[in-house]
């Protein structure tokens, strides 16, 4: 398998938080490879390092030791602006708390990454409108976040994450704030996206949610304790 086709290549990654004199090791040597088109759930008890790992994969934080290649690029060598560029073009982030801009309607929220990418207002609006329609919110474009349900807000956030057509979609507890019915809707959406070829990495501690993924990586105390493909998915795995 050609390295260049790998979406994520993480080798011996450690992360140590320093609070003054105190050192908190959050990741203690994590390695895995995620190919394009995979759908991976990262699980583990609270404090096991899931968010830390996601932040590093998402180029929001820097690793302490080890190496990380995203879509063939060595990310650890990049400066802040280059990391921002990666977040903008190659990654889409979905958060537990949605993280939409309040006072800004759905279309403008979805269009924001396009603005940072330098597109004109006309292009932004037409692309953002199309992505909103993709997540089933074509008629809610001018609603502000507080005028939308939790599930709808998360779908706006997903549309925003996908608007620059990133290589990888990252989601940290995307259903953490949603009821089970709404969670199912979001999971169906993720399933469709993955079926369309999108690489998805999602953190969850809900087994039901994780069962939608085709591969589950389990963490404990900053180490991987298991990494297995689900039986159902094994046949369709790209490997």
């Amino acid at each position: 398998m050609n390295n260049l086709t790998r979406a994520i290549d993480v080798r011996d990654v450690t992360k140590v938080y320093r609070n003054g004199a105190m050192e908190v090791p959050a990741l203690r040597g994590v390695s895995f490879v995620i190919e394009r088109g995979e759908y991976v759930a990262i699980m583990g008890p609270s404090g096991s390092g899931k968010s830390t790992l996601m932040n590093i994969i998402g180029c929001l934080d820097r690793l302490t030791e080890g190496s990380y290649r995203l879509d063939g690029t060595d990310v650890s060598a990049l400066d802040d602006n280059q990391l921002a560029e990666i977040r903008l073009k190659k990654l889409g982030f979905v958060f537990q708390g949605f993280n939409l801009l309040a006072r800004t309607d759905a279309v403008k929220n979805v269009a924001l990454p396009l603005f940072y990418a330098g597109l004109s207002a006309r292009e932004r609006n037409s692309i953002a409108g199309a992505r909103l329609a993709d997540v089933g919110l074509g008629d809610r474009g001018h609603h502000k976040p507080q005028e939308l349900s939790g599930g709808q807000q998360q779908r706006v956030a997903i549309a925003r994450a996908l608007v620059n057509n990133p290589a990888v979609l990252l989601a940290d507890e995307p259903t953490g704030n949603l009821d089970s019915t709404t969670s199912e809707e979001i999971m169906r959406l993720f399933g469709d996206l993955n079926a369309g070829g999108r690489t998805i990495i999602m953190v969850t501690h809900d087994e039901e949610v994780a069962s939608h993924a085709k591969r589950i990586i389990r963490l404990r105390d900053g180490l991987i304790v298991s990494d297995e493909r689900s039986a159902v998915a094994a046949g369709t795995s790209p490997r």
Binding site: D80, N81, R87, L91, F115, N164
Partner: protein, 399 residues
């Protein structure tokens, strides 16, 4: 532009805060404009006040501050003495005015009569005829020169007034000249009444031992003006030596200009200080409000960075916000400053002096806006820089 649109939304969402923030800017910009307008208004005022006054003359008066200035009062004989005994004096005219009704044919008009010599008392040109000749003054010729205003009142048909008779009380003066229209300022009138008559005639017809306000002294050599002023004062003190500690003051264009200059200097300094302090306070206000804004919007900044905004783009967002504040402040400050400046110019300076000064609106606007922008950028940089350098994870976690 999205930055602008977003900034406008933020500022409109906090209208009161926005207004309070830009108050300093408004005052600062207004003050800077006021300086400019005051500056050229004042020089215009000086020009308007004294422009019509002949350059080769000065006034001498008893110092009215002294206790017994009645005794220092000047009389015709003092003036006659000055004409003969002080070097560099070409002529002396009494400063005295009488208000009378002047008639020409069936028309009449109230007019201020005053004494003049054969020297030009004003720089205004003549519309008809010319100045008194020394012979006319010496021979007490009953002639007169009209101001343009009086001419218009008495000759509404614009006919030739030369040789016509002007009747005042039971006297008759032949009109030998009409001044061209002067600038129509309230203060200008002091340097010439409506009807000038030779001082020899004026002394006989109207003075009759009355006290003079003072005298207008005409010099031969203008470069010796200061020395001549001293000589005139000394001569007058000598003439009134029986009165103890008597004082006279002289007054010429140059010293008046210096006086106005000094007053204006102080005024400029005060207004300038107000402007500078206001702009400084405005700058601190902008910085303060932007720091508050950055803190309040930490999470928003985190979101923006997480979805890929570069530092420069966050920086730009806050700069645009600061500049929009600056723009609104400048706009209101300019409107206010220019309105006040225009008002002062139209209703005070023009009315008072009759001089229409071209006020430097464009220059004033440019200077004020430049200053305000520099202050905004200087004080807005730190908050914007802080916003752009927030750590995305910490910013996202902020609540």
């Amino acid at each position: 532009m999205l930055y602008f649109e977003e900034a406008l939304r933020v500022l409109m969402a906090n209208k009161i805060r926005t207004l309070l923030t830009i108050t300093g800017l408004i005052i600062g910009v207004g003050a800077v404009i006021a300086i400019q307008v005051l500056g050229s208004g004042m020089s215009g005022a000086v020009e308007g006040l004294l422009g019509g006054l002949a350059d080769n003359s000065f006034f001498v008066q008893p110092n009215v501050q002294q206790g017994d200035f009645q005794k220092a009062a000047m009389h015709e004989k003092d003036l006659a003495d000055l004409r003969i005994h002080v070097a560099n004096v070409s002529d002396v005219a009494p400063l005295s005015f009488v208000r009378q009704l002047a008639h020409v044919g069936h028309g009449h008009s109230p007019a201020v009569l005053f004494a003049a010599s054969a020297e030009r008392y004003a720089t205004t040109p003549f519309a008809f005829g010319g100045n008194f000749t020394p012979d006319q003054v010496a021979a007490r010729a009953t002639v007169c020169i009209l101001s343009y205003k009086t001419y218009q009142k008495l000759f509404p048909d614009n006919s030739d007034p030369l040789g016509k008779s002007l009747h005042v009380a039971n006297r008759r003066y032949v009109i030998t000249g009409v001044m061209a229209a002067p600038r129509t300022g309230v203060l200008n009138a002091n340097f010439g009444g409506d009807v000038a008559i030779p001082y020899t005639v004026y002394e006989r017809d109207w003075l009759q031992g009355r006290i003079l306000f003072g005298a207008a002294i005409y010099v031969i050599d203008q470069s010796q003006m200061a020395q001549t002023e001293v000589a005139v004062i000394n001569e007058l003190r000598n003439l009134h030596r029986n009165v103890k500690g008597i004082q006279y003051i002289t007054f010429d264009k140059k010293t008046f200009n210096q006086l106005v200059g000094a007053v204006f200097g102080v005024l400029t300094m005060i207004v300038g200080l107000i402007g500078a302090v206001s702009l400084l306070v405005a700058g601190i206000g902008i910085m303060n409000i932007m720091l508050v804004s950055v803190t309040e919007r930490t999470r928003e900044i985190g979101i923006r960075k997480a979805i890929g905004a570069r530092k420069g783009q966050i920086l730009a967002q806050f700069f645009v916000e600061a500049l929009l504040l600056c723009g609104i402040g400048c706009g209101i400050g300019l409107a206010l400053g220019l309105a006040i400046g225009y008002g002062v110019n139209a209703f005070a300076i023009v009315k008072l002096t009759g001089s229409i000064t071209a006020l430097p609106w464009l220059r004033a606007t440019l200077i004020a806006v430049t200053f305000a922008t520099i202050v905004t950028l200087a004080f807005g940089t730190y908050p914007a820089y802080r916003a752009s350098n927030l750590d995305p994870i910490e910013a996202l976690r902020y609540e």
